[in-house]
């Protein structure tokens, strides 16, 4: 039962990351590309980390996975904000 849930979580996470990559190639502008590559990738990584923690199911892996999830959800908006500011400054020159 646990392995079935793990496989489902991994498939959903890989699907979201693939959708994000397709959006990165297909969208016409930097801001729409970042809209695709920020949120969908964070959600896919969240699902894959949860699947890994559920598969190994030990205390150390659970603590590490929660820390990595919190870190990713704190730092991804900061990184995308920094990229957008770079684009804005270049356009102004």
């Amino acid at each position: 039962m646990t392995t079935l849930i793990t496989a489902l979580l991994f498939l959903l996470g890989a699907f979201f990351i693939l959708v994000s990559a397709i959006g990165l190639v297909r969208f016409p502008d930097l801001y729409t590309r970042m809209h695709a590559t920020t949120k969908a990738t964070s959600f896919g990584i969240l699902l894959i980390i949860l699947g890994t923690a559920l598969y190994f199911n030990s205390n150390v892996v659970w603590i590490k996975s929660v820390l990595v999830i919190i870190f990713i959800y704190l730092t991804t908006p900061l990184a995308s904000h920094s990229i957008a500011q770079t684009k804005k400054n270049h356009r102004k020159d």
Partner: protein, 90 residues
Amino acid sequence: MESTISTIALYLIFAMLLLAFVLAFIRMLKGPDISDRIAAMDLIASVTMAFILSYSVLVEKAIYFDIVIVISLISFISTVAVSTYLKQKK
């Protein structure tokens, strides 16, 4: 090497992640601006994290989780460093 998860699902996951990697690499090669290249580099780091997690489930070793921690730290720091350098370069 015999994994408990069915190996077909893991190979499908590897194929999807490899396709995502190739698409992000295409965008990194022909991005019109340097900002697109930075965004593609960020996505490549995330795809690498997913790859390593899938591989750790395939070989059933939980020690590979430390690589994911290091990659998440380095990805954020490199993205902010390159963006700050480009902002102050003028």
